[in-house]
């Protein structure tokens, strides 16, 4: 059974290889093959899951060493897999949601001429993501980490003929690279500190941390956090996620909502042994989480593009997870739990958004929707269930998981606990506001769509069954997930052997927190209804307040990047090109010109007159004789 782990990765990898190298002859079956392999991988995952359930708790983690990858003296990189409860959770999430989205894509991409390649990329993503969560050392994790980055790059830029898509893809890859630098440095630090970067020995050494290694551990932790920020779109490396919505919607659902972007949370949770010993890094983590959850939420409120609004929401929800992960043992389990439920409902929401776009000629502006509930019943229902889950209405899954995080934030204790808890509660209120806004603008109110430029009126219609079925299944997950996980604390018991668990000591009674959260939730929904439900939504966006305008521009993050990095960088580059031409080459060419000029002048001595040459010979002989005699005299 254990040797099935490589198969888990190999199956989608094989699919990617086949689909990408297979050529046109696979065009007709490519999507089926890709989907089949995704489901096969899910099947293998399930088999491994049940096999794991069958073992006692301390027997559950299994290792599978494949081969030595890079051996250089002390540096021994291995290709080996480790499947424990944490990895298992991710495997099921990735393959499960992944398979559903493959299925959905069959319908969504039915008319795309490059469909075969799309499924190839999706399979490649699955393989890389599975490698990421199954690796038993940081270097192999890094391979998966960059692999998902590549898949993300390819899928965001899938419609390459659109310059905006190509730019967004490049931006995503570059911002992720910055994060990757963090991961690289973290691995190097681990190697120089512990002589290894495999999980087991590093965690063992880290937990024995002395005063001397504390600083190093903090460094490692901060670098891992940087990596997590890049991949999970956390402040300050969040700017790529909004643009990443240029990719096809199934991609947004799978990669930029459910799975890849949560890799940062996985990394932090996986490295719990390091973070536990590095309070400064933990503090940085919670700050990042708290800032991002508000940032994302604010951005989500202002966007009119349905996918970008959801992207802001994703950012915000991952902020919750990072916040929880930064809290230490009291938060790890809830971070992962929220991650899983978020995977369900956010994927469902995105698929719903995709379904709406499918019916609306790929229109994404919510101001041109309205009243769609009439035309798309299934979509409205599934989207609605996801909506209820995300805003945390009991007993939908978001209620269970998000509430736990808010409790844990308060439970951190002290002033920090109060601040973090307050942020989390405010975040919950804003979440309720913007999700209600999306819901109302899209499905309710007056219809606002009008003629296209070419005179075609969109005919909103329900999507085909193959797209609806995944949405329904995900909706079921978002309804029931939280309840199931919390029933008898099953999820906590499942995961705690890996991450450890601790009880916080919230200053307030959990029930009080629940009530408080409920109140702000209602407040958020109410405000949204006042603004978008009661009165008609203008088709052109109003000017809005300063904050709204800033939020529409991602709180000026891109402008900052543009001014500081892009134009600063291009000035630097231009300066260097100039320096290269005029400075270095100029120096060399100057020397050449000097030599040329001098010889041009000296050349005139060569006047061609024999007597002149004879004179210089004579003079030379004279000088030689004098020198010789003088040397003699001196000697």
């Amino acid at each position: 059974m254990d040797n099935l782990i490589p198969v888990l990765v190999a199956v989608p990898l094989l699919g990617a290889a086949l689909l990408l190298c297979g050529g046109r002859r696979l065009d007709r079956v490519g999507h089926l093959l890709g989907t089949f392999l995704a489901f096969a991988s899910f099947g293998v995952g399930l088999a491994l899951f049940f096999s794991m359930l069958g073992r006692s708790v301390d027997q559950r983690p299994i290792h599978d060493h494949l081969f030595t990858w890079i051996p250089v003296n002390g540096f021994q990189a291995e290709v080996g897999f480790q499947l424990d409860q944490l990895s298992m959770t991710f495997v099921l999430l990735i393959t499960g949601v992944g398979s559903l989205i493959h299925l959905y894509s069959i319908g969504y991409m039915a008319h795309d001429e490059k469909r075969r390649r799309f499924f190839g990329y999706l399979n490649l993503f699955l393989a890389a993501m599975l490698l990421l969560v199954l690796a038993d050392n940081y270097l192999l994790l890094y391979v998966g980490w960059e692999g998902v980055g590549l898949a993300s790059y390819l899928l965001i830029g899938f419609w390459q003929h659109k310059p905006s898509a190509a730019t967004a893809a490049k931006k995503a890859f570059l911002v992720n690279r910055v994060g990757d630098v963090g991961l690289s440095i973290a691995v190097m630090l681990m190697f120089t500190t512990f002589g290894t970067f495999a999980f087991t020995p590093v965690f063992a050494d880290a937990s024995k941390a002395t005063q001397a290694t504390q600083a190093t551990l903090t460094g490692i932790g901060l670098m891992l956090l940087l990596a997590a920020c890049g991949k999970s779109a956390q402040v300050p490396l969040q700017s790529w996620l909004g643009d990443a919505m240029e990719g096809p919607t199934p991609v947004s659902a799978l990669i930029h909502a459910a799975t890849m972007v949560t890799a940062g949370v996985y990394l932090i949770t996986r490295s719990s042994a390091i973070f536990n010993q590095a309070p400064t890094a933990q503090l940085a983590t919670v700050v990042v989480g708290a800032v991002t959850l508000l940032f994302g939420a604010i951005v989500g409120c202002a966007k009119d593009d349905i996918k970008k609004a959801l992207a802001g929401s994703t950012m915000s929800q991952i902020g919750y997870m990072v916040l929880a992960a930064g809290l230490g043992p009291i938060g790890y389990v809830f971070a992962i739990m929220h991650l899983v439920t978020h995977g369900f409902f956010k994927a469902g929401l995105f698929l719903g958004a995709g379904s709406v776009m499918h019916g609306m000629n790929d229109e994404v502006d919510m101001r041109k929707y309205g009243g769609l509930a009439k035309y798309m019943k299934w979509t409205t229902v599934t989207f609605g269930l996801g909506y209820l889950a995300i805003i945390g209405v009991p007993p939908f899954s978001g209620f269970y998981t998000k509430d736990k995080i808010i409790e844990a934030a308060f439970g951190h204790g002290g002033t920090e606990g109060w601040i973090l808890g307050t942020c989390a509660v405010i975040g919950a209120a804003v979440t309720a506001f913007y999700m209600t806004r999306v819901m109302l603008m899209t499905f309710f109110g007056e219809k606002r769509w009008a003629d296209d430029a070419d005179g075609h009126q969109p005919h909103p219609h329900e999507s085909p069954k193959i797209m609806v079925i995944p949405m329904v299944l995900l909706a079921v997950g978002s309804v029931a997930g939280g309840f199931l996980f919390n029933w008898n604390d099953s999820f906590v018991r499942w995961l705690s052997p890996v991450t450890g668990v601790a009880e916080g000591n919230p200053p307030l009674n959990p029930t009080v927190i629940q009530i408080l959260t409920g109140v702000v939730l209602v407040l958020g929904v109410a405000v949204a209804w006042m603004m978008y439900g009661r009165r008609p939504v203008p088709a052109t966006p109003p000017l809005g307040s300063l904050l709204t305008r800033a939020a529409r521009r991602d709180l000026l993050q891109d402008d900052f990047n543009h001014v500081v990095l892009v134009s600063g960088g291009s000035h630097l580059t231009r300066f260097l090109v100039y320096l290269e031409g005029k400075g270095l080459d100029g120096l060399v060419n100057g020397i050449a010109a000097l030599v040329g000029g001098t010889s041009g002048r000296v050349r005139k001595i060569q006047n061609g007159y024999v007597r002149s040459y004879a004179l210089s010979m004579f003079g030379g002989a004279l000088v030689l004789a004098v020198t010789t005699l003088l040397m003699r005299a001196v000697a």
Binding site: N607, Y609, R611, S612, L615, F618, G619, L622, A625, V626, L629
Partner: protein, 295 residues
């Protein structure tokens, strides 16, 4: 110390040698230079002999003064005796630099000699005596120790001779015409079918530069070598000469049993005189022109 006689001889010869050398450098005409150099060489030859190098002295005179200097003179003749360097120096500073450098060099050499320890000397007499004479001494060295160099020198001389021939050899640019072809050409052109008339008829001085006379008594210019004609060195037959020839014919007529020709009239003679003057004039002008060009 050497004898007083040698001292006297040295000072006399030294003055001659240096004078000759300076003369060679300073004379404008190459031929004068060559003569000055010859004087210097002879003086040096005597110096050799005075120093016991009798053989070298003789060789100096025979080979250098006799052969090499003559060669120089031949070439000077070939190139043109009258050609002389112009006084103007074209290279800026060349003369000053040469003189200054020369003086410096001379001072340097003299200083070197003065510094050398050369106060005692052996004299070459003993060495000459040992071999039974200067020539024998040199011969025994040349054919023993220096035989290899001697052989190589022989090869060098042969190479030089061949080299000189190759250098001065002029490649024929056209096929040399045979006598037959020349004769045919002559007939074809028809200007001068017969052989050229011989010069020097009634010659008194240098026969080749006096044109032969045609039957009518006029001088045949084509009988004189074209080179001489071009240089304007053709002897002009004056009316006086013609008159005297007429007298000669008259006087020998009886003795030879011939009828005496009619004496030439004065106008005839004057005509000849005039033509001669014209021709000399053109010839001289041409040669002057060539000289100007060569400068």
């Amino acid at each position: 110390m050497t004898s007083t006689g040698e001292a006297v001889q040295f000072w006399v010869l030294a003055v001659i040698a240096v004078g000759g050398a300076l003369g060679m450098v300073l004379c404008r005409k190459a031929v004068h230079s060559a003569l000055c150099l010859a004087a210097t060489m002879i003086a040096l030859a005597i110096c050799y002999m005075a120093q016991g190098a009798v053989f070298l002295g003789i060789v100096q005179i025979v080979v250098y003064t006799g052969a090499i200097m003559m060669l120089f003179l031949f070439v000077v003749m070939l190139v043109g005796v009258s050609s002389a360097d112009s006084v103007k120096e074209v290279l800026k500073g060349q003369r000053v630099a040469a003189v200054v450098g020369g003086i410096g060099f001379g001072v340097l050499l003299c200083a070197g000699i003065a510094n050398a320890n050369l106060h005692a000397f052996t004299g070459v007499g003993a060495a000459n005596e040992a071999a039974g004479g200067n020539v024998q001494g040199l011969a025994s060295l040349i054919f023993t120790r220096y035989v290899w160099a001697f052989e190589v020198t022989g090869a060098l001389l042969i190479t030089a001779a061949v080299g000189a021939m190759v250098l001065t050899h002029r490649e024929a640019t056209e096929v040399r015409q045979s006598q037959r072809e020349l004769a045919e050409q002559r007939v074809r052109l028809g200007t001068q079918v017969t052989p050229l008339p011989a010069p020097g008829v009634y010659a008194r001085h240098n026969a080749v530069d006096a044109p032969g006379l045609l039957p009518d008594g006029t001088p045949a210019e084509i009988s004189v070598n074209p080179t001489l004609r071009q240089r304007g060195q053709m002897r002009q037959l004056g009316s006086d000469l013609l008159r005297r020839m007429g007298e000669l014919e008259q006087s020998t007529a009886g003795w030879l049993g011939r009828k005496a020709p009619k004496p030439r009239s004065g106008s005839e003679l004057a005509h000849v005189e005039q033509r001669g003057t014209e021709q000399r004039g053109t010839g001289q002008r041409e040669s002057e022109q060539r000289e100007v060009e060569s400068k």
